[in-house]
Symmetry: C2
Subunit: 110 residues, 2 copies
């Protein structure tokens, strides 16, 4: 089975630009458009097995990039710390109101 999870979507968000154009097309159809392997095969004029193998290789590449750069791990760490920051600021409502938009911009950088 191929993974079809939120994590794979996030990995694709982070590293998709490093894949080949062909790999990007396949993953977009599979993950973002939610097509079946059969539908992609018919549309691309290749076998279902070829689609399966290509997506599996692209997934392996995304996991390899995550092992090397850890952007998804860092993304989760930042979100956790932002939560902690918000909780700590509960005690200082005025300060919280002032810095909350800045924290929101910070999180958007991911």
């Amino acid at each position: 089975m191929l993974e079809r999870t939120t994590e794979m979507n996030l990995l694709y968000d982070f590293y998709g630009s490093l894949l080949t154009e062909k790999q990007q097309t396949l993953l977009e159809l599979y993950y973002l458009e939610d097509w079946s392997l059969g539908e992609i095969a018919e549309h691309q004029g290749i076998s279902r097995q070829a689609v399966f193998e290509a997506i599996k290789r692209a997934q392996a590449t995304l996991h390899d990039l995550e092992n090397k750069l850890g952007l998804l791990k860092k993304y989760h760490e930042r979100r956790k710390i932002a939560q902690e920051l918000s909780q700590q600021l509960e005690r200082y409502p005025e300060a919280k109101k002032t810095v909350e938009p800045i924290i929101a911009r910070w999180l958007e950088i991911d």
Copy 2:
């Protein structure tokens, strides 16, 4: 001339793990150890011109990765926002004292 700047050092920090082992060795000697091209050539048993070309190609790869992933750009954006956050918190010394260690941990994630 090859670039030998803080920016190249940062790019290597961010993307070095995606280069080949050979490229990593060359860039480490050139940027981190501050060896000359001639010294590297002698140590590696290749010509000075070959070292030059290899480092130039590795630099191009680092720039290409930055164009695609923008980690260095994001790094600078985060630092700018952290500064803004610190400035805004000047008015709330107690809140600042509480959240400063959390902000420090946030920045360390980069």
